[in-house]
């Protein structure tokens, strides 16, 4: 028979865990709302930029643009956007698994750029080259961080350390659904939308305009990936913590039942003892 004192102690401990998971869930929910708003706010800019870049790519030979010219890939780069912290269900694990599968299938030499502690810690222990790593992006990535990251990626690409850059991040669909994915970043291959019938004047020239736009295009891609990844992380954490809170409630119920049974059994035993004692005196 379970010991009453032990049961009581376990119930108390689970209850305090439940308090923590519930608080974490609520914090994640608040942060998720903010991250979602950021994702939405970034969309108009990205769409317009995509449209203009697409149009220009149709008008200018991409080979003349260092950021758009494809070259022989001596080293493929993967930028892994994981979180700094765990306790987010399968969020980090799913993304790391996708990255690892891709790296194993990759025939060309490959290297990683890690963003977030989890990805760095995992791949540091394995035979994978990490060219840069970033941590402490925080819960609300801002444009300045995205610019800095994009700048460094562009630099790695232009100096020839990496001949191709791909983003590995988690796409946010809803609090319940986040899908890890790999998306090419450099060289830029914007879908050439072609001319929309209007004859544009480019000042000073199409090539110059494109040259000014491509770095921004990179920045916004990185910014969007960061935002999606953060929204996914908060979503995953919220769901995981919600489950944990529910599981804790279930366990408390079960243990409370056992505790009550144990208490009842103890009372019955005591009564039996009293009755037996009284009988013995007769």
């Amino acid at each position: 028979m379970p010991n009453m004192r032990d049961l009581k102690r376990r119930i108390r401990s689970i209850r305090s865990t439940q308090h923590i998971t519930r608080a974490m869930k609520m914090v994640a929910a608040a942060k998720l709302r903010k991250a979602q708003a950021q994702v939405t706010a970034a969309r108009p800019y990205a769409e317009k930029l995509e449209e203009v870049v697409g149009r220009l790519m149709g008008a200018v030979d991409p080979e003349t643009q260092p950021l758009a010219a494809a070259r022989e890939v001596k080293k493929a780069g993967y930028v892994l956007l994981t979180g700094d912290r765990g306790l987010a269900g399968g969020y980090n694990a799913n993304l790391i698994r996708l990255a690892e599968e891709r790296l194993q299938a990759e025939e060309r030499p490959a290297a990683l750029v890690t963003v977030g502690r989890k990805g760095r810690d995992y791949f540091r222990r394995r035979q994978v080259e990490i060219v840069r790593s970033f941590t402490d992006i925080g819960d609300e990535p801002d444009l300045i961080q995205a610019r800095e990251l994009a700048r460094q990626l562009v630099e790695l690409y232009l100096e020839g350390t990496l001949d191709e850059v791909n983003l590995v991040y988690t796409r946010f669909y809803s609090a319940l659904r986040q899908v890890p994915r790999i998306e090419p970043l450099l060289p830029i291959k914007a879908g050439a939308t072609g001319e929309d019938g209007r004859e544009y004047i480019y000042e000073p020239s199409p090539a110059e305009v494109l040259k000014a736009l491509l770095p921004r295009y990179c920045e916004i891609k990185v910014y969007q990936a960061l935002l999606e990844a953060k929204a996914s992380e908060h979503g995953a954490r919220m769901t995981a913590m919600d489950n944990a809170t529910e599981n804790a409630a279930e366990m408390i119920d079960k243990l409370t039942l056992s505790f009550n049974r144990a208490r009842q059994a103890a009372i019955t035993r005591e009564i039996l003892e009293v009755v037996a004692g009284a009988d013995a005196l007769k």
């Binding site: 480019y202 736009l213 910014y223």
Partner: protein, 134 residues
């Protein structure tokens, strides 16, 4: 001629969406004015002041720190790196930024990123001008 639809968009938000009579923007080759009926145009922008006029309203100003502009007969879209309306500008901060950048450019400490200091100076000047402080 119908009025122009002006949109100023940054990666963080849509700063402005309004109908205007004309727009003056800091193009990479110099300030350019756009009236309704403009030919389709795309040009990068420098840090500077965007001035626009709403119907029977006075002129209003906006500080941008680079980006680019797309114009058509009925619309102007400005994709700015940052954009602030005159009322949102922190004048004190801009003034400090201007002094800091000027000092750097004057003293030229070793390892100074001149282009960056210049850009910071231009941004600060744009903000002060837009706020009407310069």
């Amino acid at each position: 001629m119908p009025p122009l639809q002006l949109e100023v968009i940054t990666p963080e938000r849509v700063t402005l969406k309004t109908e205007v009579e004309d727009v003056i923007a800091p193009g990479i080759l110099g300030y350019l004015g756009i009236l309704p009926g403009h030919a389709p145009l795309i040009t990068p922008l420098k840090a500077g002041v965007v001035t626009y006029r709403r119907q029977d309203d006075g002129k209003e100003r906006l500080a941008v720190s680079g980006g680019f502009l797309e114009a058509g007969p009925e619309h102007v879209v400005i994709l700015a790196d940052t954009a602030e309306k005159a009322s949102e500008i922190d004048v004190e901060r801009a003034r400090q930024a201007k002094e800091r950048a000027e000092k750097r450019l004057r003293e030229r400490p070793p390892g100074l990123d001149v282009a960056r200091a210049e850009a910071a100076l231009q941004r600060a000047i744009a903000r002060l001008k837009a706020a009407g402080e310069l």
